[in-house]
């Protein structure tokens, strides 16, 4: 292989190379095993048991029993559906917004530099602090949002305090927080399109819509889909904002899969059941991710 060629070049024997490589990788692999593989394996193992944390002596092996009862529990199925809806809402909006803003930034219009700086702010805020800030803004009686509505003569809204509006309201906050990431990725993607190609296209008589649709977009397609992939994974397992803003409420109106999993594991202390739910969440994310990778033709080996 070409490794061999290289090693010959520096006069090292294969064995030494291999040994050195393992010595360098060893600690990393060991730590990775400890903090990644082991917990996942343990979660899968736990998910096969009927295991109530305060009574470890009563744990019972029930095979896929937990998975079967999960798929017959309406509350779980609803939270699965909600996660999907939530993901679609957030990722769609932030992709559209993110791309729009990125285009605007590349146009070098007045104030783009300032805007670029301001845009990064939400990323820099701690989610918990930002979530509390939004919770205050969303307050139906004291919040600034309802104050503005009142000024405009619109009925006060319930926002995160109402069953119908809770999930979309959380989606707004998450979109606000994550869009800057999309903007940055798209913006750098657009910048990487070489000017020569654009010039060539212009000479060939392409208008700006054609340039965008036929040239820029296809060129940044891989970047585009990688960004969507990251955001989808991130949104599917979103926890902090939902937990602080609504705790899944009112009732269970905004209970997503991650909240459901947390509640069952650390609220109800049903470790087996919670683990099974966590595994399903992971599989769910894996499936969606695969779908996006296929659709976007992302090739990680390239």
């Amino acid at each position: 292989m070409n490794n061999k060629k290289k090693s010959d070049a520096v006069g090292l024997r294969d064995r030494q190379i291999a040994r050195f490589r393992w010595a360098m990788l060893g600690p990393g692999i060991f730590v990775l095993f400890l903090i990644n593989i082991l917990p996942i394996a343990d979660t899968i193992y736990t998910s096969l048991f009927d295991y109530y944390l305060p009574m470890p002596q009563d744990q019972k092996f029930i095979g896929i029993g937990n998975y079967l009862s999960l798929f017959t529990e309406p509350r779980f199925l609803q939270s699965l559906g909600r996660t999907l809806v939530f993901m679609l809402m957030v990722v769609t909006t932030e992709t559209i917004l993110g791309f729009g803003i990125a285009l605007m930034l590349t146009s070098n219009a007045f104030g783009t530099k300032l805007f670029r700086g301001v845009l990064i702010l939400p990323i820099m805020l701690t989610p918990i602090a930002a979530a509390f800030m939004w919770r205050i803004m969303y307050s139906p009686t004291l919040g600034i949002l309802n104050y503005f509505l009142e000024v405009l003569g619109i009925e006060p809204q319930k926002w995160i305090y109402g069953a119908e509006q809770a999930l979309p309201s959380i989606a707004v906050v998450v979109t606000w927080c994550k869009t800057p990431f999309m903007v940055m990725v798209f913006y750098t993607g657009l910048l990487s399109v070489s000017d020569e190609i654009i010039e060539a296209a212009t000479i060939d008589g392409a208008n700006s819509f054609d340039i965008l649709w036929r040239i820029k977009l296809p060129l940044i397609k891989p970047v585009f889909f990688v960004a969507i992939l990251f955001q989808t994974i991130d949104t599917a397992k979103e926890f902090d904002y939902t937990q602080i803003l609504t705790r899944g409420g009112p009732g269970s109106a905004s209970e997503t899969l991650s909240i459901f999993t947390y509640l069952n594991s650390f609220g109800f202390l049903k470790m087996g059941y919670g683990s099974a739910s966590a595994i399903i969440l992971s599989v769910f994310i894996f499936l969606i991710a695969t779908l996006i990778i296929k659709a976007g033709g992302i090739d990680f080996d390239k």
């Binding site: 064995r15 600690p27 307050s139 004291l142 109402g162 705790r247 009732g251 109800f268």
Partner: protein
């Protein structure tokens, strides 16, 4: 052959690495060994210095009680030579830390602050049965201690199978907060019954965002609704053995109907997801005329920095239903971790902290005491508004048949189940009987699960 020798070396390397890591962690948890015990006996017959040099770790919630402990702890350290390390965390973080520490048996904390998860922790064997420790008269002043002085309704919450597992240190009871200035201005009588609360709430809802505030969020709403059910003559469970749920009785339905109607009709917009955080903020900003909740929020209402209604708030005892005024309450307690390596020293501290002398001293630092004698002392009277203290004392005098939350292990699941029912009634008007029947069946199922 080459291959094998390589993997063998790799294996040895891994082993060395692991050994290095373990020795690192082992070095980190080195404990200071206690020097030879000093068994010199004091006037009260207790060898206070016998555990000198020991370090006790307290896992505490951020709470006024913890603040008060910090004020008095130096005295204990001097008296005993024991070092006390207080680690305090905000509530949610504290609960997670406590769960991890207790369930793993790590024994990081010798003493942990305890709340409604007491039954769970006791049944799992995570915390010590204190009845046994109360017999250790060589470690505390048993003659002066007087356990009966600690409010019985609070002790009941920490009693599991007739044994006390945690000592209540600070507590709260349901009272009615009202805007004294507004009630005066409009000439409305301070409500003593729920029917009067209904009328007053209806009146004030016309002129302000909310006639009354209650917590509507499904978990938070349970303790308050339970008090109204009691006051209407209902109960949550058949007995303290928790065989089946009975809150769907006619009395339970009437109480739930009153509570959820008050919230739905006269509460603020979005009350269905209100926790105490929103209730307190709304009341502080003068957005509501009444607030039915635990007594613990008084200092926040009276804080002129945060509250525009400071000095304008009146406090009344829990309104009465057909069965009288039966407020619920909650308490924080301290318990001893079963995994503690310094149990005797820990008990010495627990008994000292909860004894009458220290409790009286701590009351001066605004911590609401759990001892009835301390609550009626002059020192306490100066610290708190008179009507607030009266409302709290009235609540403490009420005998209750059951605890605010069933003392079952699956407390969180109970809260989620019954809370979902109350919450759905707050969200929209429905047939109360049907909703409660459904919830009662599920709660009975939980009770039965406990028996297995």
């Amino acid at each position: 052959m080459r291959k094998r020798s390589f993997s063998f070396r790799f294996f040895v390397m891994l082993l060395c690495l692991m050994a290095a890591m373990f020795s690192l962690t082992a070095g980190g948890s080195k404990d200071t060994a206690a020097p030879e015990a000093n068994m010199e006996v004091g006037e009260d017959g207790i060898a206070w210095k016998q555990f000198a040099g020991t370090t006790l770790r307290l896992g505490m919630n951020k709470h006024e009680y913890t603040e008060a402990v910090k004020h008095v702890i130096a005295e204990f350290e001097e008296k005993t030579g024991i070092d006390v390390v207080i680690e305090e965390y905000a509530q949610d973080e504290f609960m997670t830390k406590r769960l991890v520490d207790l369930s793993s048996g790590a024994g990081t904390y010798d003493i942990v602050m305890m709340d409604s998860v007491c039954t769970q922790a006791a049944q799992a064997g995570w915390i010590e049965n204190l009845d046994e420790w109360y017999t250790r008269t060589d470690l505390y002043n048993a003659e002066e201690y007087n356990l009966d002085d600690i409010a019985p309704s609070w002790k009941l919450s920490f009693t599991v199978d007739d044994h006390l597992y945690a000592i209540p240190v600070s507590g709260e009871k349901q009272i009615l907060y009202y805007r004294a200035d507004l009630f005066d201005e409009y000439g409305i009588k301070v409500p003593e019954t729920f029917d009067e609360v209904y009328e007053a709430a209806k009146f004030f809802k016309e002129i302000m965002p909310a006639g009354i505030l209650v917590r509507g969020q499904k978990i938070h709403t349970v303790s308050n609704c339970t008090g109204v059910i009691w006051s209407y003559g209902g109960k949550i469970a058949d007995s303290l053995d928790y065989n089946y749920a009975v809150f769907n009785s006619p009395e339970g339905v009437a109480g739930t109907d009153m509570f959820t109607t008050l919230a739905r009709e006269f509460g603020p917009t979005g009350i269905e997801n209100y926790t105490w955080y929103e209730c307190v903020a709304d009341f502080q900003q003068g957005k509501a005329a009444m607030f039915l909740d635990m007594s613990v929020f008084m200092p926040q209402m009276e804080d002129p920095e945060a509250s525009v209604v400071a000095g304008k708030v009146g406090y009344a005892p829990m309104p009465a239903g057909p069965a009288g005024s039966k407020p619920t309450g909650g308490a924080w307690a301290i318990s001893m971790s079963s995994a503690s390596r310094n149990k005797e020293a820990a008990w010495m501290l627990m008994a000292w902290l909860t004894g009458p002398e220290t409790s009286a001293k701590m009351a001066a630092y605004n911590a609401v005491a759990s001892r009835v004698s301390v609550l009626s002392s002059d020192a306490v009277k100066e610290n708190f508004p008179a009507d607030w203290l009266a409302a709290l004392q009235a609540a403490l005098a009420v005998e209750v048949e059951e605890t605010t939350f069933p003392t079952i292990s699956r407390n969180e699941e109970y809260l989620d189940t019954i809370g979902t029912a109350f919450n759905s009634l707050i969200q929209e008007k429905q047939d109360v009987q049907a909703v409660l029947d459904d919830a009662a069946a599920k709660v009975t199922e939980l009770f039965q699960l406990e028996k297995q």
